[in-house]
Symmetry: C2
Subunit: 144 residues, 2 copies
């Protein structure tokens, strides 16, 4: 069962608020929140919308799980209409909207600072490489 699967995962030894933080910042949680910030979505619609972003798409299982978790936390509202074929709309609760805005803000910050991060990475990798090489063949650079 999906629910007990998630709950088992949640039963980790984290302070309760860290749990919510993990839900919100989880791989698909971020995408779902940011997506729903724009407008409500149906299940498959949301799935497609997320898959566009880049990277590999979210599986039905993961989307379901993510949505259930966020719904349980009171961040996402699930509106299931009893029609055939089934139609379920997902939207943000007021609480969810607050969270989503924070997340989007953080994502935005990250996005804006990517250049600096990339630069830092290059510098780091350069140092590492130089350091490793110096250790592999010390006789070349240390031949006094």
């Amino acid at each position: 069962m999906a629910v007990s699967e998630r709950q088992a995962a949640d039963a980790e030894s984290l302070c309760p608020y860290r749990l919510v933080l993990e839900h919100v910042t989880s791989r698909w949680g971020v995408l779902v929140l940011v997506g729903l910030l724009e407008r409500p979505y149906r299940f498959s619609e949301l799935r497609r919308a997320i898959n566009v972003v880049g990277g590999r798409g979210v599986s039905e299982k993961m989307l379901t799980q993510t949505l259930q978790t966020l719904e349980r936390d009171g961040l996402v509202h699930r509106d299931a209409k009893p029609v055939i074929p089934p139609r379920v709309d997902y939207s943000l609760t007021p609480l969810g909207r607050e969270a989503a805005e924070q997340v989007r803000s953080l994502a935005q910050w990250t996005h804006d600072r990517m250049a600096q991060v990339e630069q830092a990475r290059h510098a780091y990798d350069e140092n590492r490489r130089a350091y490793d090489e110096a250790r592999e063949s010390p006789q070349r650079s240390r031949a006094s």
Copy 2:
């Protein structure tokens, strides 16, 4: 090797900025950033500080890995003094401080909204339970 291990993990199919977001919001990344926001820490000192928070502690390996990732991203500064016994101080870069403040803000929000979240969870679980029970023994409630 720890580095290639991390890089393999990072080679996932995510947009680049999502990667940084994951680093920053990762289980230990959050704790490290928030911890260092207070003041610089030495390695084991930071480890102990994090372990206090609750939950199970971070292993040396995970702390190392987290710190290296954040250092590579240019968020954490590592100051290794060539003395015996070794002494290494970790602190936030200006970039890291910005990130840490955002993260702390999000963590704070989460913390402040826990009551609402818990309440939503109770409501959710109640509905689920009632629903499941109704399905298990429909003859009791539907005996016309």
